[in-house]
Symmetry: C2
Subunit: 278 residues, 2 copies
């Protein structure tokens, strides 16, 4: 799968080795799905990126130019995943903010293929040993300090496991390594808060805006009692969980309704390339 | 001040925009002082880098080749600060470890100038608002996820403040943004543990190996009662603290003895360039 990439709107594939994205993980990213030249969730990505820049004291991003670049690089892919990385740019030695910040923008587009079986039948997940640290100054942001996710994802190689759930240090489930978590418990749709750790996902925001959801802590014992469990991601959409250890679920009506909502947004559960192959 | 830089032993200044150092902060670094062609603390840097690679599941680094590159790039600087960055290298999309890891090595050397007044008279410090998160899976390592330090250092711009102290979420002091902390309390030399957060500094390790030190939690109230407070850094050496808010100290005998030890290691408290200027 070939990736089309630009750095600061030029078709190159390198950044300065003195870029603070590389030296400190000092920046933010978004992973955007583009279907047929449209990114239906882009306004939510743009809002999070803008919020993140303010929180990290970076200049406000030029949202329209970034969106144009996303569409330019994903052009030609019927269904694309586009990563937008915005770092603080080149800096002198030391943590102090550069006097003049010149952020670096990297946009990388690749064709997206999704597994339709995962959407229909759900995926098996595990609980990771790594527990997320509590850091309210960074929680919610999709920043470039992702070693926790790297270490958690490195805990398993079994391809039958589709995702890993991450708990905080109190033992409550927060999210998956690259998705948010929802469950239906006692008939109520719930998702854990992400104000102390975790990422405030764009798909999560879409659901919070369109559904009644209780944002509440979810211990593993309560999760086991759920009637439905599913993961959400801007790129992968609504992914039912069918197994967590000995606990199994059938894809349920809430996940099904949200999958239909996703399709109505212009984000179908199968990618065009997959359809074409069959 | 010009920086001499190499990437994977070639004299270039760029890395792939798909490098996991840039996309996830997935890697480690060391900041090494080289005086007259020798880095006296290199064995401790090398040991920490090797430990960090094991902990992050990266291949063991080629220590001898890295040291040769440090000396090559710092050659010509009478006193140099050399940053060694080792990332996990280029990766596909997603947190999973690449099947074949090919780490990226960046070595960047610049002339070092130190402020002799800071060593003689000490520096003023403040306590940062940002509190360090507890993450035993990463604590101690000098990894590339440094947004906490970036945000903490961004809290002040007053040039009269030389460093910021960082507390954990229990309110105990752990370290400074780019240095470790030592204090003499009730006649005993103490330094906080770094097994839950903070970096296990190379200068700290040198002191632990050569002095009787109690590794113990240090609350702010206890720190105020110290007879001496000083910061330690592989590059900046032993820096007495002369003021923290209303509390003031004189540079004390323990810091003085360690400064003499530093000079005996071949790490003088003034840089040759500074001497030359006077």
């Amino acid at each position: 799968m070939s990736t089309r990439r630009s750095v600061d709107f030029r078709d190159v594939g390198v950044v300065s080795a003195a870029d603070r994205g590389f030296t400190y993980g000092d920046g933010l990213f978004e992973t955007v799905r583009v279907v047929g030249g449209v990114a239906p969730l882009w306004p939510r990505h743009a809002a999070r990126l803008t919020r993140g820049c303010a929180q990290l004291r970076m200049p406000a991003p030029g949202i329209d130019a970034i969106y144009a670049e996303i569409l330019r690089l994903s052009g030609g892919f019927p269904d694309a995943v586009v990563r937008v990385t915005l770092s603080r740019g080149v800096g002198e030695r030391g943590y102090a903010l550069p006097l003049r910040q010149a952020p670096t923008l990297v946009v990388a587009a690749a064709e997206l293929t999704l597994d339709p079986v995962a959407f229909r039948e759900g995926i098996a997940v595990r609980v990771c040993d790594l527990q997320l640290a509590t850091q309210p100054a960074l929680a919610g942001l999709k920043h470039l300090n992702r070693l926790e996710q790297v270490l958690a994802r490195a805990e398993w190689t079994d391809p039958a496991i589709g995702e890993g759930l991450l708990c905080d240090m109190a033992g409550d489930v927060v999210c998956a390594t690259a998705a948010n978590l929802f469950a239906v418990i006692d008939g109520e749709l719930v998702t854990p808060p992400v104000d102390l750790c975790g990422v405030a996902g764009v798909a999560r925001a879409e659901i919070l805006a369109t559904r009644a959801v209780a944002v509440t802590r979810v211990g593993l014992a309560r999760l086991h009692q759920a009637s439905e469990v599913f993961l959400t991601s801007a790129v992968r959409g609504i992914l039912p969980v069918r197994a967590l250890g000995a606990h199994t679920w059938q894809p349920g009506p809430v996940a099904g309704a949200l999958q239909a909502h996703w399709a109505s947004l212009g984000l179908p559960l199968t990618t065009r390339a997959k359809d074409r192959d069959r």
